[in-house]
């Protein structure tokens, strides 16, 4: 049905090619995935099918995008508009920005039907209501009159999916439809997508960076790198016997449990002790409006031992990040105590507390905002050392160069500014800054979730090797069970501000005791669980 031949996309008619000579076929009712990291051109390839490339990108004249034998790359705008939405639907990545904030859900759902199907008002409404009910939205009537900002990200993504599938298109292009969502929600939305497209016999072109996730749902994959298709074929085969060197790297980067087991039981002495910590975000009261106070962390007890990696796992809003920040003193607990090396951390910001805190550090999620854009890399890494009165300039420089080597960066980068570095390099700089003073404890707050898969792998390995060398303990805060599985000695699972399960990594992953842990694990598309069930098998089991 869809046959893409020699698709090339360039920056302007003669510029650099972001997609180079890509060909693939998709039969009616089938699923195909384009898989690649950032910069692979997968999104642009998908957008070109509907001629939605942002200027100055253009498809080259010899590209052919045949949809039922009709070349979409050559079609006039009117012809394209008749196909967009009606024959080929598209779902976007960011649910927060892909629905119009100023128009009601009902209006946005009706728009496509009105345009392509010429239905009466009442019929459009009935169909919309039926569809919302189908995707299990509470109170569909109210939903139609609501605006997008009244819904969570997962809900918005379901609504967008519903509004696209309302027209029963023959092809659905889904551009990273779940990347921005939590693990549990991600599984939900993907399952819904598969259900809806199956029911209507709609073919799916799925764009994703996650080979592991794709292999759970899709049979045929095209692996892309820097605009070129490096490998295509059956997803199971690609996964188990990658032929191309890049695919092999990509497969290697998929989260797998590190060999040799956890080291959780090895060390003993407690380093950080948290007892009965409660953290509230205060509500605000104004004359006619009032925001309710929110309890982010609700009575947590936790001990982190010297040298171990404790992973703190949970969905967004579970309080895991808040707890991590409270330990390093960025947030003051409402009650309870946090002690470090046996001393209670006073949260008054005085010099005493500061001195205590110098033994602990933090690595943030986003390496783009965690480095001061106006400082040179060398100064960023040297800054924590300036607080050490015993160190002169020469010693500091020597130490910075040492650390730089340890985190795997070359010295030329020292004189650069953060924006001149790649995401992976920046995160290495952030790690270098964190370990510069040889801390006993590091909080890593989602340190890899903003990075590409292959880079994630490198950073996780780096953290582990640095830990082996310097023996610092690490609180690894993450929503990503794959990453956790690779680095953790022990795992604590957080839900609604409480720790619901804690234990050695293997125990938690293999024999989860709490229902929430089980559902998280079930939803996480871990590669080791590849054969635990495809989407069909799971659905069959559920019935």
């Amino acid at each position: 049905m869809l046959s893409v031949r020699n698709l090339s996309i360039s920056v302007g008619p003669a510029g650099k090619r972001v997609v180079d000579d890509l060909s693939f076929d998709l039969a009616s009712g089938d699923m195909l995935a384009l898989v690649g990291e950032s910069g692979s051109g997968k999104t642009m390839a998908a957008r070109s099918v509907l001629a939605l490339l942002p200027p100055p990108l253009v498809t080259t004249p010899d590209s052919a995008i045949l949809f039922d034998g009709q070349n979409l790359a050559r079609l006039a705008p009117q012809g394209l508009r008749a196909i967009r939405g009606a024959e080929i639907g598209m779902v976007f990545q960011e649910p927060m920005v892909s629905l119009n904030p100023a128009i009601t859900i009902g209006e946005q759902m009706a728009e496509g039907l009105r345009l392509h199907r010429r239905m009466a008002r009442a019929e459009i409404r009935d169909r919309s209501l039926a569809m919302l009910e189908r995707i299990r939205i509470k109170d569909p009537g109210k939903c139609l009159a609501a605006y997008p900002h009244e819904f969570s990200g997962g809900m918005r993504q379901r609504i967008m999916l519903a509004s696209v599938m309302l027209l029963k298109p023959r092809l659905l292009i889904a551009d990273e439809p779940t990347t921005a969502l939590d693990t549990l929600v991600q599984r939900d939305v993907l399952d819904l997508m598969v259900e809806l497209t199956r029911e209507n016999g709609t073919a799916v072109l799925l764009i994703s960076h996650d080979l592991g996730m794709v292999s759970h749902y899709v049979r045929d994959v095209v692996v892309m790198r820097e605009g070129k298709a490096v490998e295509q074929g059956n997803s199971t085969e690609v996964l188990h016997a990658p032929r191309h060197e890049y695919t092999r790297r990509l497969v290697d980067a998929l989260p797998k449990r590190s060999a040799g087991g956890s080291r959780g039981t090895v060390s003993g002495e407690p380093l950080v002790e948290i007892s009965d910590v409660v953290i509230d975000y205060p509500g605000r009261r104004r004359l006619f409006a009032r925001t309710e106070p929110k309890r982010a962390v609700d009575g947590v007890d936790l001990t982190i031992r010297r040298g171990e990696t404790l992973a703190l796992v949970g969905a967004s809003g579970s309080g895991k990040t808040t707890l991590g920040r409270a330990i390093v003193g960025l947030i003051k607990p409402s009650s309870g105590t946090i002690s470090f090396l046996g001393k209670t951390i006073a949260n008054n910001g005085g010099a005493d507390a500061r001195a205590l805190r110098r033994d602990m550090q933090i690595v943030f999620q986003d390496p783009y905002s965690s480095l001061d854009p106006r400082q040179r890399i060398a100064d960023i890494v040297a800054e924590p050392l300036k607080l050490d009165a015993g160190m002169d300039r020469r010693q500091r420089t020597a130490r910075v160069e040492d650390i730089f080597e340890e985190v795997g960066l070359t010295r030329e980068l020292l004189q650069r500014f953060p924006h001149q570095l790649s995401g992976g390099q920046r995160q290495r700089v952030a790690i270098a800054r964190a370990i510069a003073r040889r801390p006993a404890f590091v909080v890593a707050d989602e340190p890899v979730s903003a990075l590409d898969m292959t880079v994630q792998k490198q950073i996780l390995l780096l953290i582990r090797s640095l830990q082996a060398r310097y023996g610092f303990a690490c609180l690894f805060v993450s929503h990503d069970l794959g990453a956790v599985e690779q680095v953790a000695d022990r795992v604590a699972v957080m839900q609604d501000g409480r720790i619901v399960e804690i234990g050695d990594r293997d125990a938690v992953f293999d024999n989860p005791r709490h229902a929430y842990t089980r559902s998280l694990l079930d939803a996480a598309m871990l590669i080791d669980r590849r054969f635990a069930g495809s989407a069909d098998a799971r659905r069959a089991a559920a019935q």
Binding site: R47, L50, L52, P54, P77, L80, R81, A82, I83, R84, G85, A86, G89, M90, F92, Q93, E94, V97, S98, L99, N100, P101, A102, I103, E111, G112, L115, H116, Y147, H149, E150, M160, R286, L287, F288, A289
Partner: protein, 313 residues
């Protein structure tokens, strides 16, 4: 929604109180004794004292403020020192003149500049876009009073098409009145189109890069439906705030235009009162204009949720 409106209304009250305090304090710093000014040069010392007592000037400042604000709330802005007229009717008379010109100018300027800016954004870097950007940057840089003088020179003196100076109330002779306001209105339209077009263009460009615009195209909507149904409301929201700001600012800024064309408006009243040290008039006019400015911004705030429902959350 109701709660949103109430909150906004309530938030304007302390602002208005502070504004009135600021105006009051400022007037107390004007050099010269109002009582002496009122009596003129031939007053005897005893008379000044009596006048001061009569005007309440011997009371503590806080009391004076309370007396004044109490009077203001009942519509008594005092009497002009220069001619003894009641201040409030004087202000309202002049406001009727200025508001017609300002409203007309802002409406026409918005009607021209908003579509121009948005179309320029949609055809970014085209010749039309460069034309709009260049024109609006030039218009932004021309002082209104000079543009007024130049237009007067061209259309009034050389071509003789339009009257040069003066004003006829609309209530008296509509056709004649319209003829007199053409030049001032055109001047303001030209000058205010600059910032409005630039703002409309900038916010439309921002909106055009958002995912929901691509989403709208992916639904098969025509380009004009994408612009008017999906981009316009979102892109217009920040521009509306600017238009409110322009509208309010012009009530004071129009003083220069009224000077150029000799129009008896609110701005000119203020400037003349400042010359004459007619402090009740200065005080009343400043309070009145600031009040209108706050109200205009309040109205904009209340209309805003219609364009962007997120703000009520």
């Amino acid at each position: 929604m109701v709660r949103f409106i109430l909150t906004r209304l309530a938030s304007a009250v302390p602002t208005l109180i502070l504004v009135s305090v600021a105006v009051f304090v400022m007037m107390r710093f004007i050099p010269g004794d109002p009582a002496a000014l009122m009596l003129g040069d031939l007053a005897k010392p005893g008379q000044v004292e009596a006048m001061r007592r009569q005007m309440g000037l011997d009371q503590p400042l806080a009391v004076q403020y309370l007396i004044w604000i109490g009077n203001v709330l009942t519509g008594d802005f005092g009497h002009s020192i220069a001619n003894g007229q009641k201040v409030l009717p004087l202000i309202l008379d002049r406001f009727a003149v200025s508001s017609v010109i300002v409203l007309l100018a802002v409406l026409v300027a918005s009607a021209i500049a908003v579509p121009a800016g948005m179309l320029a954004a949609w055809k970014q870097d085209s010749l039309g876009d460069i034309g709009v950007v260049a024109t609006s940057t030039i218009l932004l840089s021309i002082p209104s009073f000079w543009l007024g003088l130049m237009l007067m020179m061209i259309f009034g003196l050389y071509l003789g098409w339009l009257p040069i100076v003066g004003y006829v109330p609309f209530s008296k002779d509509f056709g004649h009145a319209a003829l007199y306001v053409i030049l001032p209105v055109v001047t303001l339209v030209l000058v205010e189109s600059g910032p409005i077009a630039r703002m409309a263009r900038a916010s439309a460009i921002e909106v055009s890069r958002l995912e929901y615009i691509t989403h709208a195209r992916a639904k098969g909507l025509s380009e004009s439906a994408v612009i008017w149904r999906h981009a316009f409301k979102n892109a217009f929201a920040p521009t509306l705030t600017l238009i409110g700001f322009v509208l309010g600012s012009l009530l004071a800024g129009i003083a220069v235009i009224e000077t150029v064309f000799t129009i008896p408006g609110l701005g000119r009243l203020l400037v003349d009162a400042i010359y004459a040290r007619d402090y009740p008039v200065v005080q009343g006019t400043m309070l009145f204009v600031a009040f209108i400015y706050v109200v205009v911004n309040l109205i904009v705030d209340m209309v805003y949720p219609l364009l962007d429902p997120r703000v009520t959350a």
